[in-house]
Amino acid sequence: MLVGLCALGFIFGSLQNSARIKQQPDRVGNVIRFFIEPLAVPLSSTTRGIADFAQGLASARRLASDNRRLKQIEQAMQMYSESMEFKDREIARLRAMQGFGPIVGHKRIPASVCGVSLNENRLTLNVGSRQGVKLGCPVECADGLVGTIEEVGSDQCQVLMLTSVGLQTTSTGKTQLVGALDVNRNPPLLGVVRGENASTLSMTFFDPKAPVQIGDLIVTSGSSEKIPPNLTIGKVIQTESNEEFGTLKARLSPAFELGTLDVVFVLA
């Protein structure tokens, strides 16, 4: 009996070997596994589940602290990601500014915004008369015209933003309007831009039937004394004809965003 069963074992072994050599399935093993696996598979899942549950109970405190730590890391990562996006946008703006071409009769003085007065619509820049800044010089950012210089110190200056209603009357008492063109029309439509409130500009066209369209791009005309042509001012968001006065008024969304102003050029 013993010898016979051992011989049978060797026969199984040789069958298994020959099957492997021929790259065929091992029939004897497969038959046995066929009976074992229906129990083994759910048993494996069950024991894993039990082991996980037991581990969870045993290390609940550690898992809870791990969970808190991971949530903190996730929050930090989110802040990092937002910060990265902000920096990316800033880099894009700086690259755009780096690519600005020369403006005849003007030189660009790079400056950092070191203060913002929201109520007065003023920015403080870290350049002044020693760097060549003069009263009335326009200030541009990557998106377009920001405003004009209102006060100049030796190493600092203040910019009155386009959105300020006060831009109409400067500190010197002169009315200063920004000449502007609607460049989406042919021929370009001429008008003047002034601040209306903190977030919009007002442009007056002298033809009440001027074919201004919402979305039209408005740039400086160059007719102002110190402001060169082709600086982006903003886009038309609303139009309103006033035939009694022979004008057409358009509301503009300014090109610059106050929240992103960091580095600007003073066009001296």
Binding site: M1, C6, F12, G29, L43
Partner: protein
């Protein structure tokens, strides 16, 4: 020999042992030392069988172990057949069966199986293998004790 009842319970235990070997053994092994459920069942059940039945039972246990392990079927079949034969022969001697006997016999069977297996399928690192064998022998012996107690209750008592 407990007749059909013994065989039914034995084969059922072997089936469970096969499933546990495939699904659970690796989860409860530590430091390379894990249980050998089919061997535990073969030895423990063989203690209740006569020599002939124990030999056949050992052969079936070896075939199951070989199929699950995917190793050399002949090595597993031969070693466990021999173990079944020896345990059956031992069970035929005059002795008082108890859990300690089950522990000792299972541990010795594990060691002899592993050494026979080592001879049939030679390996390079022998010392770690022998250390793991001793660990497995203890592990299997401990697991065999409650199984023996259960079988003794179900199958009445060993032949003596």
């Amino acid at each position: 020999m407990k007749g059909v009842k013994g065989w039914v319970i034995g084969l059922l235990l072997l089936w469970l042992a096969g499933a546990f070997q495939q699904a659970v053994a690796f989860q409860i092994s530590a430091g390379g030392v894990g249980p050998d459920f089919p061997l535990i069942v073969v030895v423990t059940v063989a203690l209740f069988f006569d020599r002939r039945s124990a030999t056949v039972f050992g052969f079936i246990g070896g075939a199951i172990r070989g199929a699950i392990a995917g190793g050399h079927m002949a090595a597993y079949c031969v070693t466990e057949t021999v173990v079944g034969y020896l345990v059956g022969w031992f069970a035929g001697m005059e002795f008082e069966g108890n859990m300690v006997v089950a522990f000792v016999v299972t541990a010795l069977a594990t060691v002899s199986t592993q050494i026979t297996f080592l001879l049939l399928t030679p390996r390079g690192a022998i010392l770690p293998y022998l250390a793991a064998t001793i660990g497995s022998a203890m592990y299997n012996g401990v697991l065999a004790m409650p199984l023996y107690a259960l079988l003794k209750r179900v199958l009445d008592s060993p032949r003596h």
